[in-house]
């Protein structure tokens, strides 16, 4: 056990899985460094510095640089997985899915189904999500609801270093394509993480806090923002259950249902937008299955239905903060 960052925990999972299984290979831009010329080895460790050191340990045969073409690199990873490898591809920003949609949504996600279960695509795509760095509307989205729309994909949104390591190991060993969404503002988050290899099953939410008055469901970085709100509310005598689903596909509805059964009140906090998002999805499922348990309307706390702004002041007001969560919780307590 030692204190590790979210970034280091992800790197450790990659290293352990590469040691464990020679079929695990990394595919992405600048992972090995010096691609296409006489550049420096391992110059970056990938654009997010997550894979730093791995090319030195496993060599260029297993840490593969690609040209700056997501259509090519993700396509190659899907093909490698279909052909029997267990690739981990890096998609620098989830926003770039626009140029490799067919490879992911029509090929990887459909392969097992199309071939009647006789074939599989054991692919993991690591990608980054989230606003807060003034990177503009094309580099700041949280597109995991898009991935969860497609049956055939599994979708992971880890909020902590401990979860990131265990869930990535599960993702790599999974025989279906998994989209692993790393929030860029969490890379420096540090906590105690075991040094040994471990896995966390998909579809098991983490109960972050137990309160009993209101159920708060939050995802990815919003778990930390919601935790701040929950602490402040506790001072005022409102005790919340805080639930982090950890994976949006599969979704642990049982844990959410159990909590709502007791509280009758649900607030969902999502950094993805308000239309067709994860918050809307969970709200619909709970409304359908748990209507009789509800004592107040379900409230969603999301950004507005608008692109992510680049200006710092606008971006700050765009992303949900603790005060909006507190206001939503208070509003359901009044009913």
């Amino acid at each position: 056990m030692s204190v590790k960052s979210y970034r280091a925990a992800i790197r450790e999972a990659l290293e352990h899985e590469m040691q464990r299984d020679p079929d695990v290979v990394l595919i992405g831009q600048d992972l090995a460094g010096g691609a296409g010329g006489g550049g420096e080895d391992d110059a970056w460790g990938g654009p997010m510095a997550v894979t730093k050191g791995l090319v030195g340990k496993f060599g260029r045969e297993r840490v593969l640089d690609t040209p700056v073409s997501e259509a090519a690199s993700i396509g190659a990873a899907v093909g490698a997985a279909a052909a029997g490898l267990r690739p981990v591809a890096e998609l620098m920003f989830c926003d770039f899915i626009g140029v490799c949609c067919d490879q992911i949504l029509n090929q990887a996600a459909k392969y097992r189904y199309t071939f009647g279960g006789q074939d599989q695509v054991p692919l993991t795509i690591r990608t980054t999500i989230g606003a807060g760095q003034q990177l503009g509307s094309q580099h700041s989205q949280a597109l995991y609801p898009l991935f969860s729309y497609f049956p055939g994909l599994k979708v992971v949104v880890p909020a902590t270093a401990y979860d990131a390591k265990g869930l990535l190991a599960t993702a790599i060993r999974d025989n279906d394509p998994v989209i692993f969404c790393e929030h860029r503002l969490l890379y420096r988050l540090r906590e105690d993480v075991p040094d040994e290899s471990y896995t966390i099953p998909f579809g098991e939410a983490r109960i972050v806090e137990e309160g009993g008055d209101v159920t708060v469901v939050a995802l990815s970085r919003m778990v930390h923002v919601a935790a701040e709100a929950v602490r402040a509310l506790r001072e005022d005598g409102i005790d919340c259950d805080l639930i982090d689903p950890r994976t949006t596909t599969p979704l642990d509805t049982d844990t959410i249902f159990d909590s709502v059964e007791a509280t009758g009140r649900l607030v969902i906090v999502d950094e993805a937008g308000p239309r067709c998002g994860t918050a809307s999805d969970i709200a619909a499922i709970v409304a359908e299955e748990m209507f009789n348990a509800l004592r107040a309307p379900i409230r969603r706390v999301t950004p507005p239905y608008a692109p992510v702004p680049a200006a710092p002041e606008l971006e700050r007001s765009y992303v949900p903060d603790a005060s909006r969560i507190i206001a939503a919780v208070r509003s359901v307590m009044e009913r």
Partner: protein, 368 residues
């Protein structure tokens, strides 16, 4: 002039405990109390439990009012026989300052020692040898003693260890046999330069402690077995299998609830801690090997056999994991303490009681 005056202090029930709340007094001033009379109920973050008198005396003063927070080592009340003058007690109270070396400041040491090639994590607490050495049960770790360790450390050094395959010790175990774990405990004593220890073992840790006492009785000053299985008291057959197979939070919670008389004692944190441990692949592998070896061990020491060292057995009347059979009678010289409304985890379910039983046993064994 202070002869016979004993301060009643805020106990420390966990490594993290720095203060406690006085919930209510259970005894009036002037009452004659016995060693195990419960005087005052104290609430920490982790438990609400009574503080016992510890010796026969009279409760002369209730210092800390109900509802207030008192730091660990702070004065709750004063015990003294009726012969002691009120003025002396008043002087004692006036002179009482939070102890220079308060229990809160008692040295604790988290260290790693290598024994038989395995890295072992220990927590040492307090001072005074021969120390108490605490061996946890199957699937447990050193943190399981947190509610008793500091009370025990008032009298002597207390060492709790993560056995191989557990806690923060090596997860890859060289062997899974009881003999190996017995030798680990002996090698640990060698590594720490300890000629003798007072051994305390819970459940499987008790089996190991008995094996140490049988192998090297001269090195065991006393033995306390808590919820320990023997030939007369087999482990409930399905528990180990269910514990190993429980993969998800709800399953782990249900399994852990079988350990306690009151299932509400299984907290979310406890479930999370066990899940995190079990999910480490090397730990799961070690547990499965230990389970097989312990099951196959054809002969194991039995608490019903006459002991070679001073021995006491502490068991919960509602222990469903290692229930003492109807006909269980301890052998000559062994004291059996059966605790009401307690299951397989007396050191968590009745920590104050267990700490005082261990302290009393150790004191008796240490008497010339």
């Amino acid at each position: 002039m202070n002869e016979g005056i004993t301060p009643l202090l805020m106990p420390r029930w966990g490594v993290d405990m720095t203060e406690g709340k006085v919930v209510r007094w259970l005894v009036v001033e002037g009452a004659v109390v016995h060693a195990n009379t419960e005087l005052v109920e104290v609430e920490s973050e982790k438990a609400v439990a009574p503080v016992e008198a510890g010796a026969e005396s009279v409760l002369r003063r209730r210092i800390a009012p109900e509802g207030v927070m008192v730091p660990v080592g702070g004065l709750l009340g004063v015990l003294a026989p009726n012969g002691v003058a009120d003025a002396d007690i008043e002087a004692f109270v006036q002179a009482f300052a939070a102890p220079k070396q308060s229990v809160a400041a008692m040295p604790t040491q988290d260290e790693t020692v290598t024994a038989l090639g395995q890295s072992l994590r220990l927590l040492s607490f307090g001072a005074g040898d021969p120390p108490l050495l605490l061996a946890h049960g199957f699937g447990g770790d050193r943190r399981g003693w947190s509610l008793v360790q500091s009370e025990l450390a008032r009298q002597r050094r207390v060492i709790s260890v993560d056995l191989p395959g557990h806690g923060d010790s090596s997860k890859t175990i060289a062997s899974a046999s009881p003999e190996f774990f017995r030798d680990i405990l002996l090698a640990l004593m060698d590594a720490l330069g300890l000629a003798r220890v007072h051994l305390v073992g819970h459940s499987w840790g008790g089996v190991l402690a008995m094996a140490v006492a049988e192998q090297a009785p001269q090195r065991v000053a006393s033995l306390t077995l808590i919820g320990t299985a023997g030939q007369e008291t087999p482990v409930e057959a399905n528990y180990i299998r269910d514990f190993l197979d429980a993969a998800r939070r709800a399953e782990v919670k249900t399994v852990l609830q079988r350990l306690f008389a009151d299932p509400a004692m299984v907290s979310r944190e406890m479930v999370e801690q066990v899940l995190r441990f079990k999910r480490i692949e090397a730990a799961d592998d070690a547990l499965r090997k230990i389970a097989v070896m312990s099951h196959e061990a054809s002969r194991r020491p039995d608490p019903a056999a006459a002991p070679s060292v001073p021995t006491q057995i502490i068991a919960g009347r509602e222990d469903r994991i290692c229930p003492l059979g109807e006909n269980f009678t301890p052998p000559q010289g062994v004291v059996l303490h059966l605790l009401d409304r307690v299951g397989h985890m007396p050191h968590l379910e009745a920590p104050a009681k267990v700490a005082s039983l261990i302290n009393a046993h150790v004191s008796a064994a240490s008497a010339p």
